[in-house]
Symmetry: C2
Subunit: 236 residues, 2 copies
DNA sequence: CCACTAAATGAATGCCGTTCATTTAGAATG
DNA sequence: CATTCTAAATGAACGGCATTCATTTAGTGG
């Protein structure tokens, strides 16, 4: 069975802590050597991914950065997927939910959505993991949902619409995170341009008019539409 | 180098053709034996995925269903990713764009979006492939974009907003496709329920009130919001 | 009948995640 | 201090995977 994380997560962790974190690890009294633990593995994994990307992220490579044999990792983690879950949950603490506590709902959602997209556009291989991961396995992610839900509730959303609305935003965010990684010439129709006149001219006009990054234009457009449409669900 | 598909795609293929398709394959005059070709590989791949899922989809398994050695596949395809591209492009022909030719814009987008989501919710491992794939490598996908672009243009969208609007819809669709595959208990906060009161009560209220599938509720909500918000961009 | 070539073969390669019997070294116990 | 217990690290395996390549096979045009 995969357990992911053990401690109850303490939801008031202000932002994050990089580098070697505290190591309680004190069950009853046993060897306190412990070269490895989940926080250390998570930090090393994040650093390795930053340096080598997800292609270079292997259990062997991770073990090497920790000066340990690959098999040693399996004393603290039950699979590679488990490591990805730890990384995902850690990254979620970089998502900005601060404005949900006080500010107006629209701006809170904007801050949240943009930061959420930016964090995971650099980690798209995690999206398939997040999307089907029970919140129980990711305490910091659960804390994010609590902050967002509280904000929606405070803004006057009817209870039964809160989760669907959040899911709709999130779906858009995940899809948009992929879009950020698309190559610049993804819409170049090449030799087939002649047979796709409407599409080709639309692509050209976008390239001429806009000076911003295409992914940002599309994200802004969709986000504002969702804000307007879903914001209308609020009670007076 | 990956070439994906060779023929220029003829954009008026009405819907699709299952089973063994036509085999031009006629460069100058050579052995016409040809046990294998891209269409056959695509059809076999789709069938294998349907039967064994993406975990069971290996080059060896694919070769076995075609009664061929695994290495034989590489005479027609340059990598496993290439096969996925072929499958993705084929699946795109199942997406419904018919209403863009005549009907009202809103309903056309609805038909398109729901069918698009339904097709790829059964093929989420293809989403990372689609999202960064140059349209040149996927002729049927390009044909879909042409139909959709034409519909947006006909509906009065300003040229420079057509692509961003389509991308926004698509991002939402891809994200929502993942959502369909999420386990039913994904939002069960378990032992941490006490520390996440707003979230927990919102989840509970949704479960009580709604009889529809949660993924469908969220998709409908988001889609209608995007329709309203983006539809407003049209010229009178 | 010969020469040519696209296509199929099967063995080999290298990388991967994961398992497991075994060893190591601190902590608690008396 | 010696004994015992155990979490943690080790290194050699294993099976599966995509991909490569020298070689063979079998139609076709000349």
């Amino acid at each position: 069975m995969t357990a992911a994380t053990s401690v109850p997560a303490d939801p008031h962790s202000p932002a994050d802590q990089h580098g070697p974190a505290a190591k309680p690890r004190r069950r009853v009294g046993r060897p306190a050597a412990a070269v490895l633990d989940q926080d250390g593995i998570t930090a090393a994994a994040l650093q390795l991914i930053g340096k080598s990307g997800y292609e270079g992220f292997t259990m062997a490579a991770l073990a090497r950065t920790l000066n340990v044999a690959p098999s040693a990792l399996y004393n603290h983690v039950s699979s590679k997927r488990d490591v990805l879950v730890l990384v995902q949950d850690h990254l979620t603490s970089f998502v900005d939910v601060a404005a949900f506590e006080a500010g107006p709902w629209e701006q809170a959602v904007r801050d949240w959505a943009w930061s959420y997209r930016d964090v995971f556009s650099k980690h798209t291989p995690l999206i398939p993991v997040i999307a089907v991961l029970p919140v129980t396995d990711a305490p910091k992610t659960l804390a994010m949902y609590e902050a967002v839900s509280a904000g929606f509730s405070r803004a006057g959303f009817p209870q039964e619409r809160i989760i669907p609305a959040i899911v709709a935003f999130e779906s858009f965010i995940f899809g948009s995170a992929y879009d950020v990684t698309a190559p610049a010439d993804i819409f170049d129709s090449g030799t087939m341009a002649a047979s796709t006149p409407h599409f080709t001219s639309a692509v050209q006009r976008l390239a001429e008019d806009s000076h911003d990054k295409p992914a940002d234009v599309a994200f802004s457009l969709g986000l504002e539409a969702l804000l307007a449409g879903l914001g209308a669900l609020r009670a007076a």
